[in-house]
Amino acid sequence: MNRETLQQLREQARADRWKVPPDVFLNALERSAEKSFAGRTPTDAELNRYYQSLHLEDLALACACAMGREDAWDHFVREFRPAMYRSADAIDPSGAAREIAEALYAELFGLREKAGIRQSVFRYFHGRSSLATWLRSLIAQRYVDRYRERQRLEPLPEESSAAPIRARTAPPDPDRARYVAALRTVLAAAIAALAPRDRLRLACYYAQEMTLAQIASITHEHEATVSRHLARTRKAIREDVEQRLATEHGFGKREIDECFQSVVDDAGNLNLAEWLDTDRKKSVVDRSMTEEPS
């Protein structure tokens, strides 16, 4: 990058306000581009467009905070920290996310040193998003990872691990397992065949149990649009499932009814265990530990 371009970007970022040296700011820009264009070399025009698209003021503030500039920290504490905490409280009103936000604040400051250099988490901010969005994202990631970690360590509740299997009043239907397996197979295929956006909405609604408003906020759609797409997708899945049961398994109307009914015949633990049988369980490896720690 030539000196004029760097100077222009520094001016846009108001880097002098926090006394961020040119080489530090240049280093931040280059790391940002390196991450964004991973695996390929961008053209000069691409790079210029990319730099212009960055949240430069936030990037300069992050550089200054990482360097420990006191006035930058005052600004951060005044403008960002309260909202960080409000966001954490919205994620988990019980205070668990607030703890994470407090720990993050200490890490942002960089209390730990490595080879005499402060290790601030700010170095992982690349300016592609606003600083506010990045902070929320960091809290969300840490909260979810902590939650999942705790879930792995907690023993299964007694009622699901040691409860006696209920005695059946009637002999089991020999075809039931076949119907359950068939329905599960075609349902998985129907879900896999969906467009990613449709699958994402469906997963957010049914698996994550998010509200329509929350889904709308992440898909950048109107709530009514999300609702309409959900209804359409579910209808399409049902039609797909029924068609696959007929064509791939050769089932007639009565057998398709049996397939659906077989899923609810044994409501409760037994049914759940069947849906989550061992061959479907995957080892939960927290790959986030191998990613950059931001």
């Binding site: 205070g95 604040y105 209390l111 929320r136 994202s137 979810v144 989550l276």
Partner: protein, 348 residues
């Protein structure tokens, strides 16, 4: 059988979509933030959407992020004043006039009478703004703040360690108050929304069927709280009167009659389960949501009546024309209509 299949399919979807993790690398927070700020190119956006659509862990992170987003927005430093857009000045009254004429033609006379009824005295008392905290208190909070950023970071670190020792101890919010006092005392005072205590009518005992429905919705909310379920985003419901609006925030249903300057809490039990609302007049409002819950007020929130569905269906939208007639749509696409104020609902 058709409705049964839909219900069974919903249960099956919950199991099928839960617990799977993608084999491709997870999203890191920086990429998630860039994706949410739409700062990536089209190919990157597609790649990420494809991953997130099949990865339970990243979906959980997205859900947490979405909930965090419902918090009040982070104040952006040095926001540039938007340029004057002259055309908005004549477009707004034009649109309002067209809407008013349309509504006058559509809304029946009876409902117009309801709309012009004076608000109950309870509402006006409830919406009285609370006095702001004394400035001296805020100054004291500012003084109590550690002097340098490093001290503050170390204080946060040591607070965290102390909190870890007292796992079940209730949170002390004084630190937050200090932070907010430092952040912008004047803004915080101006933003403080007074909330009145719930009116006695809103906590009156409900009919057994309504209580059962509420129990279903409550149990679902509690179950969701245990997982990575997150709070409902604030929902605003406008009325024909521009100064009167409703909003659902947290577990509360609130009403303003001064264009949002003050909000009075009108109902504090079912808010978390509300997904949609419709207010055909300034005193009549319908709210609907999870597990078939529908509640109706015809007296500006002084009392609410539970008029929900007999089945625990999740309701996505509601559109009401007056205190008697409303149409709801469930997430599954089913539609129900009432002509008797919610006493009976018929599918159509």
């Amino acid at each position: 059988m058709s409705a049964d299949r839909d219900r069974i399919l919903e249960q099956a979807l919950k199991h099928e979509l839960r617990g799977e993790e993608s084999t491709t690398p997870h999203l890191d927070p920086e990429t998630l933030a860039a994706w949410q700020d739409e700062a990536l190119d089209a190919a990157q956006m597609e790649t990420i959407e494809l991953h997130v659509s099949s990865c339970a862990r990243c979906q959980s992170m997205l859900a947490a992020f979405a909930r965090g987003t419902t918090a009040p927005p982070i104040s952006a430093p040095a926001v540039e004043t938007p340029r004057f857009q002259w055309w908005r000045w004549w477009l707004a009254p034009l649109a309002a006039g067209a809407a008013a004429v349309t509504l006058w033609m559509v809304v029946p006379e009876q409902q117009r009478e309801i709309a012009t009824a004076p608000p109950s005295p309870t509402a006006s008392v409830a919406s009285t703004p609370a006095a702001p905290p004394p400035a001296a208190d805020l100054a004291q909070k500012v003084d109590a703040q550690p002097s340098s950023p490093e001290k503050r970071a170390r204080a946060a670190d040591s607070d965290l360690k102390e909190n870890k020792l007292k796992v079940e101890a209730p949170r002390d919010d004084r630190q937050q108050l200090k932070d907010e006092a430092v952040a912008a005392p004047k803004q915080e005072v101006a933003m403080a929304q007074p909330t009145a205590p719930p009116s006695p009518a809103s906590t009156a005992p409900m009919a057994p069927a309504a209580a059962a429905r509420e129990e279903v919705a409550g149990a679902r909310s509690a179950e969701l709280q245990k997982s990575t379920r997150f709070a409902f985003a604030p929902l605003e419901v406008p009325t024909l009167d521009r100064s009167v609006r409703w909003r659902v925030t947290g577990n509360r249903i609130e009403r303003t009659d001064d264009a949002g300057q003050t909000w009075a809490s009108k109902h504090e039990r079912l808010g978390e389960n509300i997904a949609a609302g419709s207010a055909p007049s300034s005193t009549v409002a319908w709210f609907a949501g999870r597990a078939g819950i529908v509640i109706l007020t015809t007296d500006a929130g002084a009392t609410f009546v539970e008029v929900g569905l007999s089945e625990p269906l999740d309701i996505a939208s509601i559109s009401a024309t007056d205190a008697r007639r409303a149409v709801i749509s469930t997430v599954a696409g089913r539609r129900f209509q009432t002509d008797d104020g919610g006493r009976t609902w018929r599918s159509f």
